[in-house]
């Protein structure tokens, strides 16, 4: 039988994600690298007590909609739907916005484990690469060190960090073929590329599925061995969520203002 990792619907793609599962979720900086439709499907399914592993705590769709992203859900949809018990995360909250996770942490509803970004990334890669644990100097002398074994290597204090495994990884890529080979687009590889293969089941949401052999073997970033399911985003999808329609709340307007501040004074220049 030809290998065929393509599944028919987003709901089917997440059908076996169970209550209490540990789920890695791709995404960084913007919605461009988020598996938005898989996250929507998971929220629809309504599993409970998830442990999530992610770069960010999520911003919610408003901030992405106003910037022109077509698919706008990030991991916030799991938080605000109350599906998460524990979040292992590098950037739980943001200066710009008070997100669902931050409120839930403050309310004691969600447990949080904060991890430096590089350590989180390396722990994910270790799970995929069969490395049980590793030592890095990052976090030495800070809150991150609390409760961790240390070792002096080359005269610097290193912390012992363990591989972090998951039951499922939800990732976003640009194109896939039926073997699960993936390519990404520009700066969107982020942790998606790292998570692929770090969970028992890796599910990739992609912009386009192409015929086997269409992806140049020199450009394939994630070899199919790491991917279990691929699911295609609808080509001519209407807005993928309702938020785009409703009035943007004032909390968001302020944060967007702050975001725009970061552009302040940018001289006009031709690309």
């Amino acid at each position: 039988m030809p290998i065929n990792k393509i599944v028919g619907s987003f709901d089917e793609a997440v059908a076996d994600i169970f209550d209490g599962a540990t789920v890695m979720v791709g995404g960084f900086a913007t919605a461009a690298s988020c598996p938005s439709l898989l996250l929507e499907a998971l929220a629809r399914k309504g599993v409970k007590n998830l442990t999530t592993i992610s770069n960010i705590g999520g911003f919610g769709p408003d901030i992405w909609a106003i910037q022109g992203y077509k698919f706008t859900e990030d991991i916030d949809i799991l938080m605000r739907s109350g599906l998460v018990k524990k979040a292992v995360v590098s950037a739980p909250s943001s200066i710009m916005l008070e997100n669902s996770l931050e409120r839930q942490i403050r309310a004691g509803e969600v447990e949080v484990e904060k991890v430096p970004l590089g350590t989180l990334t390396e722990r994910i890669r270790s799970a995929k690469a069969g490395v049980g644990a590793f030592y890095v100097p990052v976090g030495a002398g800070t809150m991150v060190q609390e409760g961790k074994e240390t070792r002096i290597i080359d005269g610097r204090v290193h912390l012992l960090e363990y591989a972090i495994k998951a039951d499922f990884a939800l990732i976003k890529a640009h194109k896939a073929d039926r073997w699960g080979n993936l390519v990404y687009r520009k700066a969107t590889r982020t942790v998606n590329e790292t998570m692929a293969g770090a969970a028992k089941v890796t599910i990739a949401e992609v912009d386009e599925i192409v015929e086997l052999g269409e992806l140049d073997p020199e450009t394939i970033v994630t070899p199919g061995v790491y991917v279990d399911r691929v699911i295609n985003r609808p080509r001519n999808a209407a807005k993928s969520n309702a938020q785009g329609e409703k009035e943007i709340d004032s909390r968001f307007t302020e944060s967007h203002q702050k975001f725009m501040e970061t552009w302040k004074g940018r001289p006009k220049k031709a690309g």
Binding site: K114, P116, R266, G271
Partner: protein, 222 residues
């Protein structure tokens, strides 16, 4: 003294950018640091790095003009540029932790006289660790860009950080809205003051004792 003019964000960014040397690989944090990408001294070629996985891209685009798949770690779209490359986050953070970033510019809440950095959390609110600790440990040269004092007039250059630490003894240079201070094994050395500011005025807003460099001068901002 409260009336004295301090550098604005753009001018601080301009001063920071003067530190970039030819061929430097540079990572710029959120806020003032990222503005420095607009002021690379003429004739110098540097490669910008971003955590999400790109190297060698160009300046930040105007709002709404960029490719939404080509952003920096702050979520701002950036211009493509010849020589640019993309990679995944494991590679990107390996570059940071592994000492491949020549210059990192970050914001901060506090810097101690030993160069300890506190820039990821306040005692009240824990924000986002992100790549801050990786950069602080791994960058060959770490520059802090921040206002010299808080809105409440508290010193940010302090004897000991009271805010949660990012990393110990990692800061090399502090660029503020009134001074440029080098962190040395012999303590903090005041190298430059903002136009119209005296070393004594800077010292009065700084908790630890500053050594005034014999060549201490006014910042050149052109």
């Amino acid at each position: 003294m409260a009336e004295k003019e301090k550098l604005d964000r753009q001018t601080m960014a301009l001063r920071v950018a003067k530190e970039f040397q030819d061929g430097d690989v540079v990572n710029l944090g959120l806020g003032i640091p990222v503005l420095a990408s607009n002021f690379v001294p003429a004739g110098r070629e540097v490669m910008f790095h971003t955590e999400n996985g790109a190297l060698g891209f160009g300046e930040i685009t105007l709002p709404g003009e960029g490719d939404l798949d080509l952003t920096n770690a702050s979520g701002q779209t950036v211009h493509p540029q010849p020589g640019m490359s993309f990679f995944g986050q494991a590679e990107s953070l390996a570059m940071m932790r592994g000492g491949h970033i020549d210059v990192s510019v970050v914001g901060a809440f506090q810097v101690s006289e030993k160069g300890d950095l506190a820039n990821w959390a306040t005692p009240e609110k824990q924000l986002t660790i992100g790549g801050a600790m990786d950069l602080a440990e791994g960058a060959k040269r770490l520059i802090v860009a921040m206002n010299h004092i808080t809105k409440e007039s508290h010193c940010r250059v302090v004897k000991e950080c009271t805010y949660p630490l990012t990393a110990l003894e990692c800061v090399d240079l502090i660029v503020t809205d009134i001074a440029v201070i080098e962190v040395t094994n012999q303590g903090l050395v005041l190298k430059e003051v903002a136009p119209g500011w005296s070393p004594e005025e800077v010292q009065s807003l700084t908790e630890p004792v500053l050594t005034i460099d014999t060549n201490c001068q006014e910042m050149t901002l052109m």
